[in-house]
Symmetry: D2
């Protein structure tokens, strides 16, 4: 059985997912496209035999030719499309964010529960990264005992002027927010943000670096550095300290060079390359789960939890002090 | 366009390739099977909608339903099937060895040239390994200047009693023979084999470890350790020393543990896992090349060169001294 | 010229320093000993040709035979001996702490200034560690640009029952307090302490692990993990994040083993071995500086600053929130 | 007791040893100097209170003021001074080589045996290197089982024009010759030399790199790369492959940098720095052993064995093929 997928939003990430579905992954085909820029959608469709362009996302979702939906449109439009897909009882893969407010995320959660079906997956691809999976396996296998602390860092070589302080949380650290919660199977209860002196390489509207401190229900403490003008590379680090040992995320594979007085490996520059394999694994898993009527990856509740946590981080960043992370009670539906 | 593939030989590696073609890769389907054990072929076909069992490899190759052939039968049968595929003008992917003698390899080379088409690929999967590719890229990019020496090691934790001395060359080091030649774009001219004292973990019919010394046309010197009862893991190492620096094969990605007085990463035990990703890349590349009427991977000439080199290594191993590596002249067809 | 040294306190660390002065280092000899346990002092003196036992530290300091003093007695007695040495205008090397209160440290500072001579060195040996020195050199050479953050960890495999929560600051993290300040040439302004869930390997009177957060005058943010029942080893880590790059403390040299499915190096268990070389370098430097009428190592002001910082950490640990670090103004004497 | 040492030869290495004996080490003083350049000896003596200049090495050795002798003169003069010291029954530390021919080394061995006293130590300092010692300890502790192979490399960034092919053996690989024999407690039986294509950075009278192959009595096989124009640094590597695992020489401690797309440590450029600590340990050990009438370090037999091995390497290098390593029978005196 081949899953007939409709894609809403044919920007950069949309086109990448379309390419994956059409050329790299198995078990799916792209049969429908929609975009606010209809010409752009037509252009993409021209290269996709059998793909039809719809006037809007709602029409695409409603089409009987579409069995499952991928939402890669502009963030503020996500919630409406996801809700429409739920109403249509169609599996939907939504790139982050699930919605731009925690309230909207919660309404998605409620709609999904009301539908009685597991339909929504959010695009937090790190859960599909080989390194993170190996780290989670080590923890789950008991290699380090019960986790007590996580030290992590999310570093980019540079960001454009359009990248401002809040984005350090909602675009960057959001990945840690979802991945760490999944990694240790624990929920956050509070957030605090430390502001070191700014690097001279930042600009007026961006505090860079920052350190986000999170506490979990089980008492795990997390310190997460976000440094998006670190200059030297795109570098994702994560060390989990447990009662019996410490486990760290693997460094990505690299040739080892002995040259010009240095023993070195290469640090990537481009975030797109760092997790490129995980996007394939993520979407392949979604295809198979969608066919089976399941969601294996981050679900609507995870999207909601990430949104509430990000809000608390922003509050702490703007007002100082410790912000509580208060969510609705986790519904049994997501157990 | 989907490539209709027939697979001859449904043993372990045959079934793995069938599974790849059917479930993991895109652009191909398995439509035909043949095996000396017809029941086994029927059993595999039962799980493959649309796959038909043929009485023998020749019949499979001759079938108009089969567009391309994968040969994963017992080594001594390879040459006949490959020659039949060439006669039928069908692309053929043949697991190593291409043939059990250099002469038979050469007759395949000649048949392919006579056919005027590039049809034959040999299953040396290391050329598709991410790590080897990164190492080759570093060399080709000039990171270490012109290569002068290669130090490498091929270690297995243990082998069964059925594994005897010659297999260290023809089953184990054969991978280095092909991969190193490709890595530095150079041909071998002589071989020598050193025999250290045997490990106590070997058996009467296996000299283990050995060190194979190769010299190339350009004067590069290679020392390759083969140690198949090394106990500690499956470990493939390769260091290329150039005029400006030294580059080494990446260690496979692994969680870093600090535990019980050790800072450690994990060394694999199972050779099948070490190169598992490369098999997918290899066969996907073959599918696409086959459709395009090309061969991107190791070709019949490479299979022949490996066979001649292995023969020289065996001669050196059995008789001591330095064995010359003498091949036919490389035909322009393979430029 | 040989420096005639008197040692007050012949417990474990006292005897180690005596052994260094007598057998390993050059330019000094131990001529005088004192200890509350006179028998113990006599026993040590028996193995030291030419060493005389004094009834108490004051008598030792006063003796015209003693040119310089090493104080390795019980912590609460340090201040009095150091003050006595200053009054006698004799160079004094005092093991940490300089005094048990910040006030007492300050009175030493004042006495030293009043004496007009640089006489006091405090035993923070990390400044003499090869690894820390290399790290400081990298920073001072501009390899990573201006420091913005420090992530560090101080881990012990286990501590005895007698080790209680305050000791995590005054005995353990005190080393980071001095070393980090020296490393980046900056002063602390505030402290905060985070308490993760306790490891099950701690006991009722010890919160373990904790995370100490320090902010400096220049806006550098430090997170320092203290985990004294980490089980796996004695592990000191320090990563300095700067505007142009990141520098980390070297891992101590270790044989690299490939064995039993692990690629590993050894992590030390015994803190005494981790910095053993630095004690020699430290005391040799002190001997030479004492002869030259200088203090190169951590001085009385450093001892005072560490004491004030430790007090703030304790306050933060006991009462939560952020504790200000307020010191007297740095006297020009210590520029 | 202080050992009164006379030093013959005050060139670079002589002055370094004099400085060690006078300022860094304990238990010795330099009381006598001799050099073919008497002015040079006078100049050095001027900075050494109590040191007297002798007209020649023989006079120095004969002086009743001299208890032990350090020979750091020009290589061809070593043997005569060592023999004179033996006749005078004085402990002698002789920089490598012990003598310029194996025959001369053997006559020293015979003279020492005839004297009935252990008097001669040769300056192979690697046996005193922390890293080599840790590697030997791992082997001796059985961490890797019985050794089967050693892969090693001795790389220098560059050499001057005066450095010609033979020096790759007698000045460079000679260190591996002594150190590896000591490391695994085994003797060599044959040598072979492979010549890869020359690096373009060498000159007409130097074959660079070469690979030296040694076989031992116990059947261990050694491949040792010597590459003295490797450009990138001074890099000493050594991997011992045993029946149960593999152990490698530690990389020297280095700050870890993340900078400009590289994760790197520093490789030294200057061979003098690589083993600088080992010279101190070596000479301190010699002082203590000399006082005790013993030799702990490499002895005359080791010096002889190294000379015979180097001769065989040279023979193999010049004439190709495998050169036998034939020594006299090891006298019981050296058990």
């Amino acid at each position: 059985m081949t899953l007939n997928v409709g894609v809403i939003g044919v920007g950069m990430i949309g086109r990448e997912h379309i390419n994956r579905l059409a050329n790299t992954l198995v078990g799916a085909r792209v049969v429908a496209l929609a975009d606010v820029d209809a010409k752009q959608a037509e252009a993409v469709a021209a290269g996709l035999p059998g793909a039809k362009v719809y006037p809007d996302g709602e029409a695409l979702i409603a089409s009987p030719d579409v069995q499952a939906v991928v939402v890669t449109s502009w963030g503020p439009t996500h919630a409406a499309y996801v809700l429409a897909a739920i109403r249509a009882m169609k599996p939907v893969f939504c790139e982050k964010p699930l919605a731009t407010t925690a309230e909207a995320c919660l309404s998605i959660v409620e709609a999904e529960i009301a539908s009685g079906r597991h339909l929504v997956q959010v695009g937090f691809q790190r859960r599909y990264d080989k390194g993170y999976r190996a780290l989670k396996k080590a923890i789950d296998d008991g290699a380090i005992g019960a986790p007590l602390m996580i030290h992590c860092a999310h570093r980019n070589p540079a960001v454009p002027e359009a990248y401002v302080s809040d984005m350090a949380i909602v675009d960057t650290f959001i990945h840690e927010i979802d991945a760490l919660r999944w990694l240790i199977g624990d929920d956050y209860v509070s957030a605090q943000v430390l502001k070191p002196r700014n690097t001279k390489h930042t600009h007026a509207r961006l505090d860079d670096p920052i350190i986000v401190l999170l506490a979990t229900k089980n008492g795990v403490r997390i310190d997460g550095e976000v440094f998006v003008n670190c200059r030297y590379g795109y570098d994702i680090r994560c060390e989990v300290v447990g009662e019996e040992g410490v486990a760290s995320l693997p460094e990505p594979e690299s040739v080892v060079l002995r040259k010009e007085a240095k023993l070195s490996t290469t640090i990537m520059q481009d975030w797109k390359l760092r997790f490129i394999d995980s996007y394939d694994v993520e979407l392949q898993d979604w295809i198979e789960a969608a066919k089976a009527g399941k969601v294996n990856g981050p679900n609507a509740w995870d999207g909601y939890f990430a949104a509430v946590t990000a809000d608390a981080c922003l509050e702490a960043m703007h007002h100082g002090g410790v912000a509580e992370i208060k969510t609705a009670t986790r519904p049994k539906f997501y157990d």
